[in-house]
Subunit: 396 residues, 2 copies
């Protein structure tokens, strides 16, 4: 096999796209910074037990494993940065108040998440720790939409869900792992017939609750429907106040609408709700959201509240956050224009090199072209040339 | 073992240092860009055969290996980015003229390069492809010193070497691998007695050449000494013009001195020469350089000419470049000041949030503080507060 062939779902990023990614990386990290999110850089490799502690089987399967020759222990390559940042908040920083952290770096997956996905996403994300209130959820959602605005994503839809409802309905119901998986599948695919068959032997109130929930998707109107029907099933919703869940979702919808109205933003944002959505079921403990753009199957952004994520590191702190893949984001945002440059001769002429150094120090790109090569420079639009006129080097 | 313990020589980068690294990353990539270097992002994982093709045993030992579950083939985590960028130049870009590429990303090592080194350096580098002349060597050296200037490294020494001389002297001499390794060791440690013992059975001219070379280290004066003694041994220097090698080194020294004189730079740069230096012996094909800072054993920057690096990818292109580790660089450069921010109340007040959004859009950092938390915000110097005065939100 030729030495230049890459593994499947692994790719080089060439100059044009790398420039685009780098611009987005800076703009998004700057945006997070403007909210007070501090950058951290967790390692690519950790002991497998740390990387996977508290994580579900899905993350385990996604994680590349290798042996540490220094210790003989198993290590993993991070497949998700969120648990690492939770570890840093819980153990290393150990601050009493609210902590806001953000990150940007590659993650690796043993198999692609979807048929066209990369196995090496460039994950960028932000997390608020230490605040139980909905303000933290709203802040990360605002930041996520702000990132999409800064990235010039022209049109997107925010899907809202809350795993607490399904979780509460199924709490205490004895179900095999297979039956649970089948139920989740039926709920996710809105398969009412399958749901009827699967819930035949469940308590009537649970069955009825699930059959109501599976219909609860669509626009904000869904929340009013839910308010009508769900509280009747409240006796089954163990330790969770269904009113509070619906009120949280209502506030999130209002907040998104206020962002849309109050900001002078040229973006087309829709909001939809799916109360039977189960993505990240094991993970989220409150409102969760996913952002979709027209024509792309996979969610561009995923986030929500996951209060248990730091627990295995000895400090269970409330947490809300989101992440996205910059390599996916470049696919739905307009590329930056070809950058301009000044072409200059390439020689050891001292005056020429002093002129070039001054131009570069002033923020200009000056590309030296060997005498044999034409004025064309790949990757740059050479609008200007450095020429010697009357013994002086001038840009023309 | 506690879940938060990291493998040896693997560490989290906390906010203060991460901010410093991010500043350097941007400043250095901007500097490379001002020379016309285009950013590329090669993957972290490749087929092992591609990663190691043409590389020496040292890189093999440094490279983490794992199995690709999709293909059953062995993959490696990059331990050095240079061969990947050469592959991109040779195969993907395939441009006829000069190509300038730069990169910045993590590399992973199975064992640390020195007792205090990280196993996850953040490698930043730049390469010029397609130019055989010394102008390319001088450009990458200029860029390397410019990067150190931009990073505010106050004082450093550029060590120059050229593997061609030792290589040429030993060409055609039948030597076992062990004997060669012992010779290299003796040359590197300037062990004249050991060298005398090891070269007893070598042809007199080779012996004499090696004994002369091992003395050729020090300041620029060394080149004048070499000019006196080395050409007498020229009959042994197979296919290489010793005058040309020394002239190249002379030009590099002059160039560095002209940088020092002509640029208005507040930096203390020394130049030293070691003609028996063998670092990267298998790799470099011309002038090579290493930059050291006082008090640090490991080189901060390494670079030079390596014309064969793309050969295994079907296109042997002349190449010159350098790389450095941003995690090492932060250790020898002054940290950025603690960034300032505006503290604001955290609420769903519409007017407050509009004021905050406007401040953020204007480039300010506004951190929302929950009502229970004091005005202190970790990581920021909250010089100002957003307050409601006469019904208006104002910064005070």
């Amino acid at each position: 096999m030729s030495a230049w062939i890459l593994p499947d779902h692994i790719a080089d990023v060439l100059p044009r796209e790398a420039l685009h990614i780098e611009r987005l990386r800076r703009d998004l990290l700057n945006t997070a910074r403007s909210y007070g999110f501090e950058l951290v850089i967790p390692p690519l490799l950790e002991h497998l037990s740390s990387l996977l502690s508290g994580a579900g089987q899905a993350l385990d399967l996604k994680t590349f494993k290798l042996v540490d020759q220094m210790s003989g222990r198993m290590m993993g390559l991070r497949a998700d940065t969120t648990p690492q940042v939770a570890r840093m908040d819980a153990h290393l920083l150990n601050r009493p108040g609210v902590t806001r952290l953000c990150y940007c770096g590659p993650v690796l997956h043993t198999s692609p998440g979807s048929p066209h996905a990369t196995r090496e996403p460039l994950q960028l994300g932000a997390e608020v720790y230490g605040h139980t209130g909905l303000l933290a959820d709203l802040e990360v959602l605002t930041l996520a939409t702000d990132c999409l605005r800064v990235a010039h994503v022209p049109s997107f839809c925010v899907d809202l869900a809350d795993a607490r409802l399904v979780k509460a309905l199924l709490a205490g119901v004895p179900l095999s792992a297979e039956r649970t998986a089948a139920l989740h599948q039926a709920l996710a695919s809105k398969d009412r017939a399958e749901l009827l068959a699967l819930t035949r032997h469940l308590p009537a109130s649970v069955r009825q609750g699930l059959l109501v929930l599976v219909e609860m998707y669509g626009d904000a109107q869904v929340l009013r429907e839910a308010q009508k029907f769900l509280p009747g099933l409240i006796d089954r919703i163990d330790r969770i106040d269904v009113h509070e869940v619906l009120q949280d979702l209502n506030q999130v919808v209002n907040h998104l609408q206020s962002i849309k109205v109050h900001r002078d933003i040229d973006m087309d944002m829709d909001v939809s709700i799916d109360l039977a959505d189960l993505h990240g079921y094991a993970y989220y403990t409150g409102v969760s959201f996913a952002v979709y753009v027209p024509g792309v199957c996979d969610a561009l952004v995923r986030g929500g509240r996951y209060d248990e994520v730091g627990a295995v590191f000895g400090r269970s702190r409330p947490a809300a956050g989101f992440s996205l893949d910059l390599k996916s984001l470049v696919g739905v945002t307009p590329p930056p224009p070809v950058p301009t440059a000044i072409c200059a001769p390439w020689s050891e002429d001292v005056a020429l090199n002093a002129a070039i150094a001054a131009l570069r120090a002033s923020g200009q790109v000056v590309v030296c072209v060997p005498s044999g090569q034409a004025g064309d420079v790949d990757g740059f639009d050479c609008k200007h040339t450095l020429l010697k006129v009357d013994g002086q080097w001038v840009v023309s």
